[in-house]
């Protein structure tokens, strides 16, 4: 098997340059997709027959919720690679994910709460999905707090990576347990869109937003990754190259 690609990804200068080159390729498509998606969602899509215009929150809520889960998975996988193969670059990826992930988890929570008020009559209910999302936010916070508490960068990398990996083992268990927990009480069944299938003019903007948010994440990740790689790097030679 050819491992050169793996080593290439492990090499900071290569990653630094590659990330720099990739940023625009994700940033511009992301901006365009999101703008079209917003226009589609706010203007073109018809009002929902039950929720009226309130359903349009979905175009920011669902993408951010999806992104939060996606980012945690990315972070934990990168952390795992960093721990097992001692790849600095993988640690840098994991570290770059946390901040973005916490933001979008928070956005999904708040937009969800704002949607909940008109739909369920209250900002917050202890619904399984909501609870699990809240716990996800705390996993992100825990990860960042641990990083901040350790100031030796390499120690912080390894300790927080371990936490991320343990956390991902637990994420499905949390979901499962919380579902099970609530099953004994009445389940709020409002949490469905009025109809089982969405009309195309509602669906397309949603898909665009999902795609746009994902592209956006990769773009931001590449920028943060470059910063993290630089901060970790001690080899002077290529630093000089990339800085001048």
């Amino acid at each position: 098997m050819d491992w050169t690609w793996f080593h290439k990804f492990g090499s900071p200068p290569h990653v630094y340059r590659l990330a720099g080159r990739l940023t625009p390729w994700f940033a511009w498509p992301a901006a365009i997709t999101i703008l079209i998606g917003l226009y589609g969602g706010l203007v073109l899509a018809p009002p929902d027959y039950q929720q009226g215009d309130g359903f349009r929150i979905i175009y920011v809520h669902a993408p951010s919720a999806w992104l939060s889960v996606m980012i945690y998975t990315t972070m934990a996988s990168a952390a795992f690679v960093g721990l097992v193969w001692r790849m600095k670059v993988a640690h840098a990826v994991a570290a770059s994910c946390a901040g973005i992930g916490a933001w979008f988890t928070a956005v999904s929570l708040v937009t969800g709460m704002l949607w909940g008020k008109p739909m369920w009559g209250t900002y917050w209910v202890w619904d399984p999905r909501l609870t699990a999302q809240l716990i996800l936010l705390f996993l992100f916070f825990g990860y960042m707090a641990l990083r901040a508490a350790i100031d030796d960068p390499s120690r912080a990398d390894r300790a927080s990576a371990l936490l991320a990996v343990v956390g991902i083992v637990n994420v499905p268990i949390i979901r499962f347990s919380v579902d099970w927990w609530n099953s004994i009480h009445q389940a709020p069944s409002v949490m469905k869109l009025g109809r089982p299938t969405m009309p195309v003019d509602m669906l397309v903007p949603l898909l665009l937003m999902l795609l746009g948010f994902t592209l956006y994440f990769v773009a931001v990740l590449t920028i943060r990754l470059r910063a993290e790689v630089l901060r970790r790097e001690r080899q002077a030679s290529w630093l000089r190259e990339v800085l001048d």
Partner: protein, 216 residues
């Protein structure tokens, strides 16, 4: 006893935080020899000892033990004992209990050998008079003797000692010299960071002077 012990360190680079403390250092030691580390405060003696023990990760470099490169420190750990600035003792246990547990933790052995080794260690360092009192009530020098007793009872070839003469009186310093001498006689290897004269025969002693890195 430990005939074929032999240690070689090369191209050894260690960072502490952002500081490049050890820059490509190397040395080698064979059975029955002692390396004395000297160097100004902050020159990296503690860092070197801890990185050889695998407690501080090295950035780069090779460590060979018995001519085999060591990658995973787990194997080396069974062969070495590290004595840092402060003796690793539980204040609430007696000196004897401390030594007993320290030895027992290093692997399953029959109760009889364990007791015999602990007893021999305590006697050798002259701790029989106070080893049954809680460590909390011992003086600094008495604690160090308990730690020496444990070190001896471990019966491992490689000793890493960080300023071993700290807190010792005149008798204690002589005891330290004898302990090191006996260990070298048995074919052991010692790396000790200290400015005091260890009083060893010249052919057994190697000196390594570290220099402080002036940066940031």
């Amino acid at each position: 006893m430990y005939k074929d012990s032999n240690l070689a360190v090369s191209r050894w680079h260690v960072f502490r935080g952002e500081r490049h403390v050890l820059r490509g250092l190397g040395f080698s030691l064979t059975a029955g020899r002692c390396l004395q580390l000297v160097g100004d405060n902050g020159s990296g003696k503690t860092t070197l000892l801890r990185s050889i023990a695998g407690l501080v990760p090295r950035e780069e470099g090779e460590l060979r033990w018995g001519d085999v490169p060591v990658d995973d420190f787990a194997t080396l750990h069974a062969e070495l004992a590290y004595l840092g600035h402060d003796p690793p003792l539980k204040a609430d246990l007696s000196g004897r209990e401390n030594v007993q547990f320290a030895v027992a933790v290093r692997g399953a052995r029959s109760a009889a050998t364990l007791t015999a080794r602990v007893e021999a260690g305590l006697q050798r360092v002259g701790a029989l008079g106070f080893c049954d009192r809680p460590v909390r009530t011992l003086s600094a020098g008495q604690r160090r003797r308990i730690a020496f007793a444990a070190l001896r009872a471990f019966e491992v070839p490689l000793w890493l000692m960080d300023e071993p003469a700290t807190h010792l009186d005149v008798v204690g310093c002589e005891l330290l010299r004898q302990l090191i001498d006996e260990h070298l006689d048995a074919g052991g290897i010692v790396i000790a960071a200290t400015h005091q004269d260890l009083g060893l025969a010249p052919h057994r002693l190697q000196r390594l002077a570290l220099e402080e890195v002036r940066a940031s």
